[in-house]
Symmetry: C2
Amino acid sequence: MTGSTETTKARRSDATRAAILTAARERFAADGYERATIRAIAADANIDPSMVMRYYGNKEKLFAAAAEFDLRLPELTGVPREEVGARLTAHLVDRWEHDDTLMALLRAAVTNQAAAERMRQLFAAQLGPVVAALVEDRAEAPVRAGLVATQALGFALTRYVLCLPPVVALDRAAVVAWLGPTIQRYLTGERGE
Amino acid sequence: MTGSTETTKARRSDATRAAILTAARERFAADGYERATIRAIAADANIDPSMVMRYYGNKEKLFAAAAEFDLRLPELTGVPREEVGARLTAHLVDRWEHDDTLMALLRAAVTNQAAAERMRQLFAAQLGPVVAALVEDRAEAPVRAGLVATQALGFALTRYVLCLPPVVALDRAAVVAWLGPTIQRYLTGERGE
DNA sequence: TCGACATGTCAACAGGTGTTGGCCTACAGT
DNA sequence: ACTGTAGGCCAACACCTGTTGACATGTCGA
């Protein structure tokens, strides 16, 4: 054990660790779990593959470290009720646009069980509460949150992964205008069946 | 070439070919492109891996053959305009529920360029025209079709791949009740921005 | 009956994977 | 100044991948 007071003492290798993590996120995001090789990640970070093992144990743990993610969802309770859909939509698009991590998680989750489990936890732990605070009948919260995930992830999939041209072409305002009402209905609309 | 009249003569190996294709679809659907190995597919089909190569050339071509897919979209022009959303939603869910092929395509498309391209073609060639026939302004058709894809694929992703519990729990009627209006708005609603 | 050809099996290849252990080097604490 | 140790590199391992070619078997037409 190096440090002791409260935060672990800064290690000389922190720069390397960070470089590995950044490279890992990019590779996982671009290639998915299996095609993102440790050798490629190490090459991007300009270090030896064995260093990755030393610092992160194995590929699975490396991914777990790289896929740490916070949606940073805004508090929606203070927002006018009819605007929560647009607000949440805009936030999600912005979050997606500037961070590889969610991309890495999404691509990996399709073929890797652990990544899928983490995706479930992400939505349960972060989106769930925000939706629950908005919904009248608490029992409805999980379904509504799930439906929001449906549209949010579907958008990310078609725009960033499949790159369907018409979806790629939409600008931020258009995305909010089209998807906002959908999210709004899933959050606050009359329930279906 | 074997046959000549109009349909190719039935080969003795057709059963094997079909077994390979079935096994390939299941593996690609369950594991994605890279994790679905030719050896595993051959084992499922109870034949030697080299037979797969003989009949389909290589893995990429095998996938291309296995991912041949027809959405069998119904004609929506005869349907009352306010019901097209529910109708299309119900059809897509049914189609998804009973055929591995779309699953194989979806899982593979996330990490394989060729599969992604095929997914784009699928929507352009099959969903595009159906939507175009419904929309007044032809220029809007691609965007609307893309939005439908957004919600449809997002639902498939969260329900069948990520298995988000609340989404898995929905029964057919609930899916149509929740997603139908969304699809309806993307098809016939006022355009956003 | 015989031979051509389709069908199938077996073993191996070349390359890439995650992962490991040994070795060198340079800095930090004494 | 010295030494222990953390940081880093190299070579190798055991395994798995797609793919290939040589060989056996069976079937069908002439």
